[in-house]
Symmetry: C2
C-alpha cells in the first residue's frame, strides 16, 4: 500500500464501494488509514467513517487534522453525525461541533437532545419539503436544487406556512403527474407520521407494516422535524433482535460485544451469575430440608437432573415464544389469558406424555412402582408450572412497560429449579409419609 | 357494517390504509370480509390479501368468485402472488394460476421454482430496465409508461441486448441529470448484485451493508431476472431473528406460532423434550454410579442444582453471544479459536469468583472444609467447560454449513448437566478416596 502507485490507488478508491472500504480499513495501521481517508472524497470518507467502530473514528478524525475532519463531518447526514458525536465525551463533541458549519452544528446539536432510542434520535433533518401550492414541475425543481443534501428524495413532504405536515407525495407520483398539476391535488393527506418521542421499536413496526421507505417525524404541534429512513430501520430491527437474544440469555446488551475486553465482559456477567447461584442454592436448601426423604429413597437423586432440566427446557421454550410474539406483535397484551391458557394446554399434553415415559423408565431402572409414580407425576406437574411461569412472567413484565426479554432464560430456569424441587420432594415426602411409613 | 350507508363505507375504504384494513379484517365474519374486499379496488384488495394469514386467503379468494379473484391476483406483484400460491396445494395453485393472465401466470410459475429462502424466492420480476443508449429523458418516459407495474421505480437497471446487467441508475440521478444525457454516461457500472440462488439471509446482509432500496438478482450468465426490495428484506430480518430465538429455545420455526393448534404445538415440542429427558437421565446415571460417594457426603446433593444451573447459565450466555455474533457477522468463522479463547478467559474469571463464593457458602452452611473445596473447584471447572461447549458447538455447526442456532439452549444445558455431574461427583469421589478414606 505504502509503495503502490498513487494514481492507481486513487482510481481504486473512487470506484470501490464505501461499505467494502470500511470493512478492510480496520486491518491497516493508523497512518495507512489516515492516508486512505485523506485520498477519498469527503462524502465517501463520511460514509466510511460512519461504518467504522466508534472507538476508531475519534483517532481518525484527530489524525486527519481539523480542516479535513470538518469537511467530512459536514458531508455526513445530520443523524449519522449526531450518532457519532453522541458517543464522544462532552468536551470533544463540542470541539468537533465547532468545526462544522454553524447551521449543521445546530441541527446536530438538536438531534443530540433526543433519546437515542426514539424517533428523534434516529431521524435525519435532511429531507425535502414543499408548500401546498407548488406544481409537480416546481417540486421536481426544488428536489433538483436541494437533493444533494437530502438523505432521501423518494418522498416530498408538503407543509403549510407554519411547517405543519399536511401531505406527502412520492417522487414516483411527481414523475407520473402532468408538470402543471398542483402538489395539493396529488398529495395524500392521510400521512402516517410518528411523534419525535416514539420508541424506535414502534417506529420500526410502523415502517415494516406499511412498507415505507421513510416516515415523517413531527412534534406535538404536528410540525415536521425530520424523517426516519428504512436503512436506519434495518439497523434498529437488527439491534432489537440482538438485544432480545442476549437479554434472554441474561446478558445486558451494550453494542458490539466482542470488542469489549475479557475483564469487562466477565464483570458484566458476574453479578447475574452469582445472583442466580443464590437462586439455585435456594433449590439446594429445599433438597436439604427434605434430606430425610432423600436418605429413605436414594434413587430420588438419580432423577433430580431430569426433574430440574425438563421443566426448565419447557419454560425456556414458552418464554422464547412469548417474548418473540410480543416483539413481532403476534401476541398482544390484551390476549394475556388466552396465551397462558394455550401454553398450559400444550404443557398438559407434553407433561403427561413425558411423565408417563419417565415413570416407565424409573420403574424399569429401579424396579420401584412408587418411585415411578413420584417421578412421573412430579414431572407432569412441574411442566404445567413451567408453562405458567414461562408465559406469565414476560407478560407481566411487558404489562408494566418493561422489555419482556428481561425475563431471561437463566432467571426462568433457576426459578423453575426451585419450583421443581419443591414439587418433587414435596410429593415424595407426602407419599412416603402417607403410604410407606 | 351490514346496515351502514354504503357510500360512506366506500369512501372510508378508499381512504384507509391497506395495512390497517388487513389488521381489522380478521375480526369480521367471512361474508363481511368478502363484502369489504369486493368494495375495494383490486390493487388495494391485493395488498390487503397479502397481509392476511395464508389460511384465510384461500377461502376469501374462493368466496370472491373467479372473475374478481383473477383481477386481484393480477394486481398483486409477482413475488407476492408466488408467495401466496406457493403455500396452496398443487391443484388449487394451478386453478388460480389459470385465472391470472398468461404472462403473469408464467412469471409466477417461474418464481415458484426457486427455493423460498433464496434470492429467487423473494425477488419480484416487476422492475424497470432500459438499454444503455437511451437518454435520461427517455428513461423517465419508460418509467412513466411501465411504473404502475413496477414494484420499485427508484432504481432503473441498464441491460445489454442479451439482458445482461451492465449498470444501474437511480431515479434520483435521472432527475438530477440533463434530459439529453445518455444513461450509459451516468450509470454506475460496479453494480452489486446477487445470484438467484443466494440465501435470503445473505441478501439481507448485502442490502443492509450497502443501505440499498433494492438489489438486482441475476442468473449464472449475469442476466437480470428480478430485484429484491428493502421491504421484503425487513421481513427476512424479522423472520431470521424469530427463527434464531425459537431455535435457541429448541423450537422449530414454522411461521406464525400462535395460529397452530395446541396438539400440533405439543407434538412439535415433544420429541425434543423427550430426547433431552434421556440426556438428563444420562446425568442421573452418572449420579447413580457415584451413589456410594453421595451416601458418604449427603450434603453433595444440596449443591447439585447450583452445580448444574450455574455452568448451564454460562453456557447459554456464551451460546447466545456466539450465535448472534455469527448472525450479524461480528463473529466470523476464521476467528474461531480467538472467540473460544476469549470466552474461556471470561469463564476463568467468572468461574474463580463464583467458585470462591460458593466454597465460602458451603463451608459456612455445612461446616466442612472438604465440601467447600469440592463444590468451589467443581463449579470453576464446569464453568470453563461450559464456555468451551457454549462457543465450540455453534461454531462447529456453522462451519459445517448449518444454522448455528440449531445448537439450542436446552441442548447445551442438558449436555452441560452431564458434564457438570461428571466433574462434581468425579472430583468428590477422587478426594474422598485419596484423602478421606
Amino acid at each position: 500500500l505504502a509503495a503502490g502507485p498513487t494514481e492507481g490507488l486513487r482510481r481504486f478508491l473512487r470506484e470501490v464501494h464505501y461499505a467494502d472500504l470500511a470493512e478492510v480499513l480496520p486491518e491497516l495501521n493508523l497512518a495507512q488509514r489516515i492516508k486512505i481517508i485523506r485520498m477519498c472524497e469527503p462524502s465517501k470518507a463520511a460514509a466510511i467513517l460512519y461504518q467504522l467502530d466508534r472507538s476508531e473514528v475519534k483517532e481518525l478524525l484527530e489524525g486527519l487534522g481539523e480542516w479535513r475532519a470538518a469537511a467530512i463531518l459536514r458531508e455526513m447526514s445530520t443523524d449519522d453525525a449526531a450518532d457519532l458525536l453522541g458517543e464522544m465525551p462532552q468536551e470533544e463533541r463540542e470541539r468537533f461541533l465547532s468545526l462544522m458549519g454553524a447551521a449543521e452544528a445546530e441541527d446536530v446539536q438538536e438531534l443530540l437532545e433526543y433519546g437515542p432510542d426514539t424517533a428523534g434520535g434516529i431521524m435525519t433533518t435532511e429531507f425535502v419539503s414543499v408548500r401546498e401550492d407548488v406544481t409537480a414541475q416546481e417540486a421536481i425543481e426544488i428536489l433538483r436544487a436541494t437533493a444533494p443534501d437530502a438523505e432521501t428524495v423518494y418522498y416530498v413532504y408538503v407543509v403549510d406556512k407554519e411547517n405543519r405536515l399536511v401531505g406527502v407525495v412520492s417522487l414516483r407520483e411527481l414523475i407520473l403527474s402532468a408538470p402543471a398539476t398542483r402538489v395539493a391535488d396529488i398529495m395524500r393527506t392521510e400521512v402516517i407520521r410518528v411523534d419525535v418521542n416514539t420508541d424506535q421499536e414502534e417506529v420500526a413496526r410502523i415502517v415494516a407494516k406499511y412498507d415505507f421507505l421513510a416516515v415523517p417525524v413531527v412534534d406535538a404541534r404536528n410540525r415536521l422535524l425530520g424523517i426516519v429512513t428504512v436503512d436506519d430501520i434495518l439497523d434498529v430491527v437488527e439491534e432489537e433482535a440482538t438485544e432480545d437474544i442476549l437479554r434472554l440469555a441474561n446478558i445486558e446488551y451494550e453494542g458490539r460485544y466482542f470488542e469489549s475486553g475479557v475483564v469487562k465482559r466477565a464483570t458484566k456477567r458476574l453479578p447475574w451469575l452469582v445472583a442466580l447461584m443464590f437462586g439455585e442454592l435456594l433449590a439446594g436448601h429445599v433438597i436439604a430440608n427434605f434430606s430425610a426423604t432423600l436418605s429413605a429413597i436414594t434413587a430420588l437423586a438419580f432423577f433430580m437432573t431430569v426433574m430440574a432440566g425438563g421443566p426448565g427446557n419447557l419454560a425456556t421454550q414458552t418464554l422464547a415464544v412469548v417474548v418473540r410474539g410480543l416483539a413481532t406483535g403476534e401476541v398482544n397484551s390484551r390476549a394475556v389469558l388466552g396465551v397462558i391458557l394455550g401454553e398450559v394446554r400444550v404443557a398438559v399434553i407434553v407433561g403427561l406424555v413425558s411423565g408417563l415415559v419417565l415413570a416407565g423408565i424409573a420403574y424399569a431402572w429401579q424396579g420401584q412402582t412408587v418411585l415411578g409414580f413420584i417421578v412421573g407425576l412430579s414431572l407432569a406437574l412441574s411442566m404445567i408450572v413451567a408453562a405458567i411461569i414461562g408465559s406469565l412472567v414476560p407478560l407481566v413484565i411487558n404489562r408494566f412497560g418493561f422489555d419482556p426479554a428481561l425475563a431471561s432464560g437463566p432467571f426462568i430456569t433457576t426459578l423453575m429449579d426451585v419450583c421443581s424441587m419443591l414439587i418433587y420432594f414435596g410429593l415424595a415426602t407426602f407419599i412416603l409419609h402417607r403410604y410407606l411409613i
